[in-house]
Symmetry: C2
Subunit: 479 residues, 2 copies
C-alpha cells in the first residue's frame, strides 16, 4: 500500500476504519482491484454485486464475485433485476436504468448497514472518458473538472457519499494489480457492453485523439486537477456571497437582496442566479443566455421588472428584493407586513399584535423627554414611529385600506392624498397593497407603516407625550 | 448592420469611430467580411496585408486585396517577407514564423498611424478549433475559455489591443456575407496551407466529433461563454488578492507576503504564483506540477526554502517573504536594512542616517518617564529599541560585523555569543548578514537592529534616560 494511496483514502475520500464501506464489485479488474486495495488497507467492507441480467452468463459473474469474497472472508450481498424490463417500463436507456437500479441497491445496503460510503472503481481512464463526454456536450467548469474522490449524489442519498479511490490509477494498472494479487477478473463487464457512447469514446475516439496528442490522457487529467482547484475556489467564494445576498429560501421561491447582488461582478451575479435556479430545480442545466436575460434585467430596470428564465422559473424585482420563483408559486408575503384578509385589529397601548408571517406591531406610551426626542429625530427605520399622543384618540386600530381612504402625509404641508395614489407614488409593491397595515381611528389614518406618519399627529415643539409604534420584521436579522 | 454587431464592436471590442483601426486582410472570406463590416459601421480603417511568400501566387493575393481596398476607397498597406527563410534562421515552425512577422508588421503600422487596435477576422469556427487545441493540450480555464473580443498581447504591444469582432460569426456566414456584398475572396489562404495541425483539426477531427454530438460547435461556443464569465470572476478576485499579497515587483524579482499567501486556498496560491511567474516571463505556460512544487514548499517548509520552478525561475522563502525570481537576478535588498559596502557611520543624537534602499535610522534621547517606559514595554516592532543611556557612550556608530565580533544578547543572562552564531540562531537570511547594521561603540555591540539589544544596556528599574532608535522600513506601508 503506497503512502499516496493511504492519503487518497483518508484525505481524499474521507474514509475511516471503524465503519463499513459498501464496495460495488462487478467482477471486472477495476472493482476487484478497489476491493483488494481497501481490504489490504484494513477497512471494513461489504461487497455488493448487482446482476443486471442482460447477458446469459451474468449469474456466473455473480458466483465468481461471491466466491472471491468468500475466499477473502468478506461479506458479500448479491442482488439483481431485469434491467431491460425496467428500462422499457420507465422509458430509460439501458445505461440509465442499470445505473439507477445498481446505485439504489448499493445505497439501500449502505443505509441498512450504517455504512460510511459507497465505493466504486472509477479509474483515471474513466475520468478521461467522463471529461471528454462533458467537453463534447459543452459543460462548464463543474463538468470539465471531472469526478471528485468524494461526492454526495442527492438523488441517491443526502448524507452517504460515493467515493472513488482509484481515480489516479490507470485501467491497465488495475489489471496488473489483480494479477499480482491472485484475482481473476472477467472482462466482458456488462457495464461495457450496454454503454454504447462510452464504449465508442473509449475504443475509438480516445485513440484517435492520441494521434493529435500522444499524451492526451495525461493532459486531460492535468486539466482536471487544475480545474478542480479553480472550481473549489469559485464554490468557496460563491458560498460566501450566497450567505450575504440570500434573504430567504421558501417553497418554490428564493429571495435575494437586490442592492447587494447588483453591486457584484456580472460573473458572480450569474453564478448566484444559477445557484438559486438549481436550488429550486436541482436537475436543470442553466445556459448562458438565460443568465444574461437575468443580469440584463438587474442592470437595466427601466424595461420591466420580470423576466422568464427557464424550466418554469421567473425572476421578479420588487423594490430592493429579487425573487426567483416557480411560475405557480406565490411570492413570499412575510417580506412585507400584511394583515389577514379584511381584518381590523384593535390596538391596546402598551401591547403587541401579531400580523401575518411573524411580523409584530409593538405599541407603547413614552414621555417625550430629551432622550426620546433625540431618538425620534435620529430614527431612520420607517417601521418605527413616534406620534403626538394628544393628537390621536386612545381607541386605535390596525386595518387595511378601504375604498376612498385619504391621508395627510407628513411633509406635504397638510395637503391630503388618496391612499391609492400614495401607494403608487411610494412604489409599494402592487401585490401587497391590499393587505398593507394602516394605523387608524375610524376613517382617519395616522400612520402608513413603513412609509409616513400623518401631518396631523407629527411631533412638534410642544409635544409632551408620544405613542411609540414599532413594526418588527422577522427577516431583519438576515438582511 | 445588426444591433448585436454594433454592441460587439462598441462594448466587446471597445472600438471608437475617431481613431483608425489596422485591419489584417489576407484576402480570404473572413478578413474581407471583417473589413466590410467595419467599413459599413463607419469606422476609420487602414487595411494591412502581409505577403508570406510561401506560394508562387501569393503576390496575386496582395494585388487583389489592394484593388478591393482601392475600390472601397480604403487605405491599404502591403508588406511581405520570406517567411521560410526567417523560420529556418530562427528555428521556428512556418506557422510561428508567419504569425510573428505578420503581427509585427501590423503592430508597427498601428503605432505609426496611432491606431486604436489591430483587428483580425477570427470566426466562431476558429474559436472552436482554438479551444479544441487547448483541450487536447490540457489547458486550464484561460485556454479553454477561448479567444476574447479584445486582448493585449504584450510581446506585440503593451497598449494597442488585438480585437476579434467576428467571434460569433460562422465561417460560412462570412462567405455568404462576402457574396451579398460583392466581395470575391480567394480560398487557399496561406494561413491554411502551412498550419498543418489546425487544418487537420478543422477538416478531420471536428467532423469526427460531430458524429458524437452533431451540435458540437455550438456546445463548445456555449462552454466558452460560460468559462469566460468564470475566468473574469477569478481574474477579478486574483487581482484583489495580488494587491494584498504582493510586496514589490523589482527587475527580475517579485516579493510576496508569506503569511498572507499561505493562509489562502491552494487554488489562489497557485494562481498568484502563476501570475508572478508570468509577470517575470510573459510568454511561458505554467503547468500544474510546477505550481504544485511551489505550493508544497510553502506548505511544508521543513525540507528546503528554495525550489526551481520553470524557465529559469525560482521560488525562495526567507522568513516571512517569498521571492519569485529569475535565477540570475539578485534578490531585492531593500527588504532588509543594509549598510553600504564596508561602511561605518557615526551616529549623532538626535539625528538620522540613510541606509541602502531608503531605510533610515532615527535616533533620539528620551527621559524614561512612565509614558516612555510603557511604550518601550508594549513595543512589538524589533526595529525600535530603547536603551539605557547611562550604559552606553555618546560616540556611537552603525557598522557591519567584523571577524570575531561577540555580543551579549538580552535574555541570555549576560552570556556572550559570536555574532555569526547569533545570526544563524535567529535565521537572519544568509545573503544579508554581511551588511547587517550593528549599533556599536568600538568592539562593543549594543543593538542588532531587528533582533535584540545587548544585555548591558537593557532598561532597568533605575534607568532614568534612554536612547531611542528606530530603523524605518520603506516598504512597511505596503505590508
Amino acid at each position: 500500500m503506497s503512502e499516496n494511496f493511504e492519503a487518497i483514502l483518508r484525505d481524499g475520500c474521507g474514509l475511516v476504519k471503524d465503519r463499513p464501506i459498501i464496495v460495488g464489485v462487478s467482477g471486472g479488474p477495476d472493482s476487484l482491484c478497489l476491493m483488494e486495495i481497501l481490504r489490504q488497507a484494513g477497512y471494513s467492507l461489504i461487497i455488493a454485486h448487482f446482476d443486471h441480467q442482460l447477458r446469459p452468463e451474468s449469474s456466473q459473474d455473480a458466483r465468481m464475485v461471491e466466491m472471491t469474497a468468500a475466499r477473502l472472508i468478506l461479506d458479500c450481498i448479491i442482488n439483481g433485476a431485469d434491467v431491460r424490463a425496467f428500462a422499457d417500463h420507465e422509458k430509460l436507456s439501458l445505461e440509465e436504468a442499470a445505473r439507477s437500479l445498481r446505485y439504489q441497491f448499493m445505497f439501500k445496503l449502505a443505509r441498512k448497514h450504517n455504512a460510511q460510503a459507497v465505493a466504486v472503481g472509477h479509474t483515471a481512464d474513466d475520468q478521461v472518458e467522463t471529461i471528454l463526454m462533458h467537453f463534447l456536450r459543452g459543460s462548464g467548469l463543474a463538468g470539465l473538472k471531472g469526478m471528485p474522490y468524494k461526492s454526495i449524489v442527492k438523488i441517491f442519498d443526502a448524507e452517504i457519499p460515493i467515493v472513488r479511490p482509484l481515480l489516479d490509477m490507470r485501467r491497465e494498472e488495475t489489471i496488473k494489480f489483480c494479477a499480482a494479487n491472485d484475482l481473476s477478473p472477467h472482462y466482458d463487464s456488462s457495464n461495457d457492453s450496454f454503454n454504447f457512447q462510452r464504449n465508442r469514446i473509449r475504443h475509438s475516439l480516445i485513440p484517435e485523439l492520441e494521434n493529435y496528442n500522444p499524451k492526451f490522457r495525461d493532459a486531460v487529467l492535468r486539466m482536471s486537477e487544475t480545474l478542480k482547484g479553480d472550481h473549489a475556489f469559485m464554490l468557496e467564494l460563491l458560498e460566501t456571497a450566497w450567505h450575504e445576498i440570500m434573504i430567504a429560501v421558501d417553497e418554490g421561491v428564493i429571495t435575494l437582496d437586490f442592492n447587494l447582488l447588483s453591486k457584484n461582478s456580472l460573473s458572480l451575479q450569474r453564478n448566484l442566479i444559477k445557484k438559486a435556479m438549481q436550488t429550486l430545480q436541482p436537475d436543470i442545466d442553466v445556459d448562458f443566455l438565460t443568465l444574461e436575460r437575468a443580469t440584463h434585467l438587474i442592470k437595466d430596470l427601466s424595461t420591466s421588472a420580470v423576466v422568464d428564465l427557464k424550466a418554469g422559473l421567473r425572476l421578479y424585482i420588487e423594490n430592493d428584493l429579487i425573487f426567483i420563483s416557480k411560475t405557480n408559486s406565490k411570492l413570499p408575503i412575510n417580506l412585507w407586513p400584511q394583515l389577514p384578509d379584511g381584518r381590523s385589529i384593535a390596538i391596546s397601548i402598551p401591547g403587541q399584535i401579531e400580523l401575518m408571517g411573524s411580523w409584530k406591531l409593538y405599541s407603547n406610551y413614552t414621555p417625550l423627554d430629551d432622550l426620546a426626542r433625540a431618538e425620534a429625530e435620529r430614527n431612520e427605520d420607517p417601521f418605527r414611529v413616534w406620534l403626538d399622543a394628544e393628537q390621536i384618540p386612545d381607541s386605535l386600530e390596525l386595518r387595511v385600506r378601504r375604498r376612498g381612504d385619504r391621508f395627510f402625509p407628513l411633509g406635504m404641508q397638510g395637503h391630503s392624498q388618496k391612499i391609492s395614489d400614495f401607494f403608487v407614488n411610494e412604489k409599494v409593491p402592487h401585490r401587497v397593497r391590499e393587505h398593507w397595515p394602516l394605523l387608524c381611528a375610524g376613517d382617519e389614518i395616522f400612520w402608513v407603516a413603513g412609509y409616513r406618519p400623518s401631518h396631523s399627529c407629527r411631533l412638534t415643539a410642544s409635544t409632551r407625550k408620544a405613542f411609540y409604534f414599532y413594526l418588527s420584521n422577522p427577516l431583519k436579522k438576515n438582511r
